[in-house]
Amino acid sequence: MTERSVVTDNKQAHIKEKVISGLLSLSALISVVTTVGIIILLLSESVSFFKEVSIIKFLFGTRWEPLLEPKSFGVLPLLSGTMLIVVGSAIIAIPMGLLTAIYLSQYASDRVRTFLKPILEILAGIPTIVYGYFALTFISPILKQVFPSTHIFNALSASIVVGIMILPMVASLCDDAIRAVPNTLKQGGYALGATPFEVITQVIIPGAFSGIMASFILAVSRAFGETMAVTLAAGATPNLTVNPLESIQTMTAYIVQVSLGDTPAGGIEYQTIFAVGALLFFVTLTMNVIANRVMHHFREVYE
């Protein structure tokens, strides 16, 4: 038997490897190029907007009337509308999501778990526009019966459905974080005569704390950028208010309104959507970066 040399000169295999690695880096590049393209577009259009309107007036102005004379470009009403949705949905999704995760990971039997998990995933898979109908045609009428002053379009019903929408995300990320707490820690707690409740609240939740926080931030960031349900259910009235029963407009809903309307491209009215979009992008990006940092910190704890 002749020995095979380890030195080969297989050009064909070499080229094949090159092509494969080239294709792979190309597909990775596409997402990078897209991101960069979006940032450039947002920034360049925003820059021409901010040549005409000062950033101070934009960020701190209390009237948003870009389509009416006299024009006013204070983004606060849109921001307050968005915050109403964010806070409202967080009040619903954060406690319910955390409790669901605790139930799923600690109390539910395997049978209940295999039944509940897919239901949560279905909840996450419902198109957001359907949530919008649901808010408008089901929740709002109920709210109107309870609080007669409720507008047909109102922030509360939109917050409720956005809350339901982000609930699976909170539940599933918290569930992951809780499961990442080593079983040995849990047993250590029980072996010291702790009750299940004490183990959950004083061993497991502190152990999963960063992961739980990260899930909250990601969910809030999602609520911040949520569009269809709020466009449909929350109204189209830029309104600086804290009353969730009133009609409001979120930043995203405003962008939809202008994009679909007959606002001519190129004018200052049209450029507003890029300024609003840039602000939206900046806030969600910041939140995602924070969530990543927090999550990273949490991975290091047990290593």
């Binding site: 039997s109 395997d110 080593p182 040995t184 820690l185 047993q187 250590g188 707690g189 029980y190 072996a191 010291l192 005569g193 702790a194 009750t195 004490e198 004083q202 061993v203 502190p206 152990g207 704890v301 047990y302």
Partner: protein
Amino acid sequence: MVELSRKDHAVTHHKSVEISDPAMETLNVTIKYGESIAVNSCSLKFQKNRVTAIIGPSGCGKSTLIRSLNRMNDFIDDFSLTGQVMFAGEDIYNRKADPVEIRRRIGMVFQKPNPFPKSIYKNIIWGPQINGFKGNPDELVEESLINAGLWDEVKDRLNGSAMALSGGQQQRLCIARAIAMKPEIILMDEPASALDPKSTARIEDLIEELRQNYTIVIVTHNMQQAARISDYTAFLYNGDLVEFGVTKHIFTNPDRKETEDYITGRFG
């Protein structure tokens, strides 16, 4: 085949063993996971203020047995136990028995050190505090750390994270945490198997000191360790208690051939 060997290993207590004052006792304990038998009709007595070692090859049921002594197997879905585990005059598997109260009085140290990701101080005081400890916490922490032989190494950094300690120190912290509860019995499930020889020696010295105040049950796969530190030894094989007796006797003159084969290293 398995059935045959089970009959073959019918439970034999060593004739010379007399456990006059048991802190705990198992009576015909059979443990199953689903349909498979992990421990088969095991009857054992654990003498008060003595060290009892449970030895046997991997998978013989020794970990299952020790975990059943403070109901740590409750969390396993298909776990079931028949027979009785007597402690303080009661069967701890009695339907009215409270596992939380049982674990307060029967502490446990695990194979892998599992300190909480909290400070050294909090690791010790947490158990007593959730169980209504009213005394001076500083004193209890100091006393527990001294008894676990860790005080001198950590007294200047009690508020530092327990995770920063070495593996051997973490395990002694876990022992300190267990004795801070002032339990009557301490169960140790291979407490030194994840440690280096030097840390292992320290844990063994510690067990030697602790036996004056506590009843200790230790599972180990290290036969030299069992021979060094225990007063009584139980040999488990294939879920059966093959032999139980005074450690010296088991290691020098066992009654059963399987025991002799195992301790001389012919299998396992």
